[in-house]
Symmetry: C2
Subunit: 456 residues, 2 copies
């Protein structure tokens, strides 16, 4: 009889594991069943703001692979099925069919927990009012889009992280008057404040009304029960629609109840092979805790790229192979209208928290040769360890061509290069693509000087 | 009395050394004199095609810093001065003032040879005919532009390397009918033939008439002595203007006459500090031979980025500091209308020449998430060492956003990562910038499989 791999969660982590495992082992030797409580498998959560913006016209385009396609590959993908308990002793899952409410026990030999993450929803007065939306599922995005189509014209975004910025852009593109409320003094707390200030300028540049250093106290409704305003420490901000962008928390409760080890970040603890504390049980995606290669601390980072890689690792290891997930360095990029933002490694603040003594350099440059048309401004900040000059982090804000420059810095940080070494790297140069000294190289050179008393 | 640093050549290598040295040591302690036989200092040779295209309206915009500006910084920059001999025993240069023909001896304590490179001009019948142009100096570019302004409408580019392609683009943009004659079966001999074939398609796509596998036999003129056609092994190709793009050779004759060691590539031999075989004599830029970090072979690569970095190294070392040039890995990018091309490390052919046994993988992907507008096609080829999976090289052809992806692969190759390691790298992801699995990562994963029998 075939062994059975059960998967809880039908999104990136779960389904990339399923697909990888199926490529390696046929249905005669391995049963693969995936339980997804929602209606979609493998949808692109990162694409939701672009669906709201109308840039992506149909929600179906965000679905990388439908349950039918998985089934055609010999993967039993069951949407509308919620796993309510894991019994490790019986090697079985308690599964509820959402439509009928029926529950059954489903046996497994190996298990993958890929339960994702849940958006933070603060316990504030009125948070459940009609018009206050999280933005995690296609259903969420359809609801926001319907509200805009229905005539909402004043939007408030709560939280100035990636999803907040992308939703602000989306609603600006749809013609709404958009306000953004952020507790910190600058948006994007994953950037240092000096770089965050550039993002604030960019947001103002596209017409977003910023309420920084401001906390939300509640959501107000009118007599008919409709959302009317967001109450903040700086007064009321009128709103027809609210989008919460306050980050996410790993969905690890089910795993915790089953007795799997949970880490300090709230994510499921995994080894480098993505095995959990229980024999034959794996975890992948937004629900896990992973390793930050620079800080050496556990982190939970909800990002489709990590989920896909971790899922592939599980798919290999659950079928007799050996592959490891090497950890993350916190690379992230985003675009807000014509502005691009990228970061990798540690900010100055994060470096200090991790115990590093660091120095930083920030340079303003150009994305192309100065004489080439459409050369766009770009600001690059590099953080390096004092004394050794080792690269710790980088942040970029600029226009077209700026953000993806973070990748070369990610590769440099990943490899523990020094800032001076990065400044000597043989990067591609041609006038349409960069100045002869790319701003990345200049920032690295300056950071080498700042951190170590450079030679030149 | 101040020490004297004399520099032969007023372009990237020479003048970046001068500027770096001057930042470190004032005029009281160091005299800096630079002799340039042309009329410009520090001009952007890489920008010449864009001047010809009209994209850069004025030649002056290509000059990064004029002689006057250098003099204002305490650097005695003398244009129109040709160094005709180096006397190492007397520690003096024989300098001819080009306008007057006067010659004098100029003493030095330290010397930097930064004499650049000269375009290859094949000894073919008619090569000196009016209308046959090299493209290295601003004067060359003005001559070609004048010829186009004067009504030339049939152009032939000889040689399908970077400068050839960029000049073909420039003349297409100016509305000329452009033919390209290339001896090899594909343009871009720095790419493998399968990738070169994609470039050939791109060139045909912008209307360039390709004559591949074709050698030039001479240049024909009409009765009045005007250029009329290029004679090739495949017949005559009519031409009003010809641009030679046959590569360059290091200008090392002066150094050789003075007894400096010259390497197998024809470039001046330098140590990692850019010192030559003679005490107190440095060399930098297109005239030197440098070290290829992957092949471990000496190479001569004429590129402004290397020249600038090497010049900085000399500026530091000539003033009592210590800095080294770590070598190159052959990174290069270019743009031909909407097509972008990049390469780094070794091609399959180069890997074989360097003694590697390699395997390669080529993937076709998209520059953005599949559902995001303007996702453009991109082809990525990765070459890895058999057995170890070590990355040896990468090549990219695609549209907007394709070429600069070569940088992250350059950083990976520089750090001797394996293809599998690259496939796990934490790169920036957001739908406007890449699919969740960037084509770079997929190509690396496939190359890992091809080279080592990958796990997944």
């Amino acid at each position: 009889m075939a062994e059975r791999l059960a998967i809880i969660g039908g999104d990136a982590g779960g389904m990339s594991a399923a697909a990888t495992a199926r490529r390696r082992v046929g249905p005669d030797d391995l049963d693969i069943v995936a339980f997804e409580r929602g209606s979609y498998t493998s949808y692109a959560a990162c694409g939701l703001p672009y669906f709201v913006a109308g840039v992506v016209p149909e929600a179906d385009r965000l679905v990388a692979r439908s349950p039918e396609k998985f089934r055609a590959q010999g993967i039993d993908a069951r949407t509308g099925h919620e796993v309510v308990a894991i019994d490790l002793d019986r090697r079985a899952l308690r599964v509820r069919v959402i439509d009928s409410g029926d529950e059954t026990w489903e046996p497994f030999d190996q298990l993958l927990v890929a339960t994702g993450a849940t958006p933070v929803r603060p316990p504030l007065p009125g948070v459940d009012a009609d018009g206050v939306h999280g933005i995690q599922t296609i259903t969420d995005a359809i609801a926001v889009r319907d509200r805009i189509d229905g005539g909402a014209n004043r939007a408030v975004v709560v939280g100035g992280g990636y999803i907040g910025l992308e939703m602000a852009e989306a609603m600006v593109l749809r013609g709404l008057k958009v306000s953004l409320v952020e507790m910190a003094e600058q948006p994007m707390s994953t950037l240092d404040p000096d770089v965050g200030a550039l993002v604030a300028d960019a947001l103002r540049g596209i017409g977003v009304d910023l309420h920084l250093g401001t906390s939300v106290e509640g959501f107000e409704t009118d007599a008919s029960g409709h959302l009317s305003a967001v109450a903040t420490t700086a007064g009321d901000v009128p709103a027809d629609v609210v989008v919460l962008g306050l980050g996410v928390r790993p969905n690890s409760a089910l795993a915790a109840q089953a007795g799997l080890a949970i880490g300090v970040t709230g994510g499921i603890v995994t080894s480098r092979t993505m095995s959990t504390s229980a024999e034959g049980v794996w975890a992948a995606g937004d629900c896990v805790e992973t390793y930050h290669r620079v800080s050496r601390c556990p982190v939970s980072v909800a990002l489709g790229t990590h989920a896909n890689k971790q899922g592939r690792v599980v798919g290999v290891n659950a079928t007799g192979g050996y592959l490891t997930f090497p950890g993350v360095i916190g690379t992230a990029i985003t675009k807000v209208c014509e502005y691009e933002v990228g970061r990798t490694g540690l900010t100055e603040r994060e470096a200090a928290s991790a115990g590093f003594s660091s120095a930083a350099a920030t340079v303003e440059g150009s994305t192309r040769a100065h004489y080439y048309p459409d050369a766009a401004p770009i600001t690059v900040k590099v953080v390096a360890e004092r004394g050794t000059g080792r690269l710790l982090g980088a942040q970029i804000v600029g226009r077209e061509g700026a953000a993806k420059r973070i990748d070369v810095m990610a590769a440099a940080i990943w490899n523990e290069m020094t800032a001076e070494e990065l400044s000597q790297l043989d990067l591609g140069y041609a006038p349409p693509f960069s100045p002869v000294w790319d701003p990345v190289l200049i920032a690295a050179r300056r950071a080498a000087g700042a951190s170590a008393g450079s030679a030149g």
